[in-house]
Amino acid sequence: MILISMGQGEEVRELIKNDSKSNKQNDSVIIVKELSKSYGRLKAVDAIDFSVQRGEVFSLLGPNGAGKTTTVEILEGIRKADNGEVSVLGLDPWKNGYELHKRIGVIPQGFRFFDKSTPREAILYYAELFGRKVNAEHILKLVELEDAANTYFEQLSGGQKQKVGLALAMVNDAEILFLDEPTTGLDPQARRSIWSVIESFKLQGKTVFLTTHYLDEAERLSDRVAIMNHGKIIALGSPDYLVSKYGNSKKITLEGDERMYGFLKQSADIAVTMQDGTIEIPLKQSKDLLKVINLIENSGIPYSGLSLKKDSLEDVFISLVGRMKEGELD
């Protein structure tokens, strides 16, 4: 697992070097070094480095405007980088875009198709473009679109439209699938349905490069995530690693008043925070759990909703992006 924290100078560079070395030994299908892209004065992507191994689901996370789409478009070969090196399946995406596109599948942000074409016709159209013989029925089944096979694209729901994109990404038996915010704007059920299709890609051994701003999505699907903000990668590693490194692995939360907050603050050798009536007590060690519960029980102060929680990737993301905003990370 590799972590890149901006502002740590030599340590960060060493970690990147090690990451590159380990990925050379493994099977890196995407290698990015010192990649930069600016629009006028705005640095959309600022000297980022990472690599993606064959068969893994790699997610690029970040708030809107972080530089995710620019990065993924450079990897797809539809946008030219200003500086740096990019290799996808051993090819330069800008110079060898035509060869690369035969080997990758892409669902761009806000995927669309011809309004008056059906999902079956869309698959057959792509099959002709890629010069492949495909079983349209099989692909429709894989993306759970059999019932809408003959419905015009304009009449499909948002989730079904994204599934058409997933179906088209399967037509050329792509080695890498680039999915740029594939579930944005979808309802929870449609999102889960898309997730199951992405998981089936992973089971087939395909590499998936996912950009999203849904943290739960990344946490569930990804082997590794890179968190991006203001054009820089501020953290990189597996979801578990990032949570353990940047989050509090466990914490007790309860609903209580100022008396309880004051009592806990004075009584325990622990950090306590309170916000909107919710008191939060991070646990440094497992043995602290019993100690804190005993304290609360013996306080005699009324409380409710006591629960034990673990930080999620979302908590880590908010914390990291917040720290960058406050200048702790540069």
Binding site: E73, E76, G77, I78, R79, K80, G97, Y98, H101, K102, I104, V106, P108, Q109, G110, F111, R112, F114, D115, K116, S117, E121, Y125, Y126, E128, L129, F130, G131, Y152
Partner: protein, 363 residues
Amino acid sequence: MNLRRILADFSVFRREYLRNKEGFFFALVFPVILILLFGAIFSGNNHSPINVYALNEDNGPMGSSFLNVLNQTGAIKVILAPSGSVFPDYLLKNSYSQGILIPSNFSYSIHSGGKASVIIYSNPADTSTQIVTGVINSVAEAFNLKLSNSSNFITIVQKSVNESSPSYIDFLIPGLIGFTVLTSPMFSMVNLSAEYKKSKFFKQLSLTPLTKGEWLASKIIWYVMISLISFVLMTATGTLLFGANVQITAWVLPFVILGSLLFVSLGMLVGTITKSIESAGVIGNIITFPMMFLSGTFFPLSIMPSWLARIAHIFPLYYIIDGLTATMVYDNLRSALIDLSIIALICLMLSIAAVKAFKWREE
């Protein structure tokens, strides 16, 4: 260029176009409606006579004779107003725009060697005024000659420039073919290019093996086909229903093919260089509508003021219609080839500009 991919893209575009009722209507049905409409209005020699209201106050026979001769011309149908009515009031009250008043002393003035008058009431805004005035003048002239015992020294024999006597419908067919060659690609490509650019659909297509050239080729093939179908429909309608006499020659093809390429390129250029779908539509209309009306599509340039007819020469559609008319109506290959050369040159410039402006990927 890969033919399989061009045909695949052509097929999906054709389906999209035909399933879209508006596109189908404007591409194939609308031009036929136009030819039916204009053909019905302007074609054939069986024009109805123009109704002209007359009040004959003459006490003698000459007034009646004059009106009878007017009726016999076939160009005018004289309808008598009730005697005793105040004629201008009568015309106004009934919204009649043409009237003839024969004064009470008409016969007397003629017999006594004085000057007799016929008073014509007319509305200058009415396009038939000139015809009515012309017919009345001719009849009055004939009466003058007869009464002075003179004879016609000069007679006029009217012949058509072409032996086969081209009629309005013969000129309308090349005009409306030009209309289809212009409007089908322009209206569609302006909107489509602007919309595909905004929705990043071009980027999406660029991620397939389809190339920019193949995408363009499929659009050109489609619009050439639309124009050819439209050519067949309009020529058949004009010939069968209105007796149009036009030549169907292979020289029509280069005009239709280059014309389609020209307006696909122009439409793409407008859609690509404008910033929004709305502004693309406005600029597309600003280019299309004046070109449509001033290039001799519906009316020959000869009826326009000379300065306006000169402006028509800046529009590429003028050369398409002029060339089609030269080859279909006059069989004048030399003139058609000059037009074709001009079209080829404009086409080359616009195609290069469109391909340069059209970005499949972004720098």
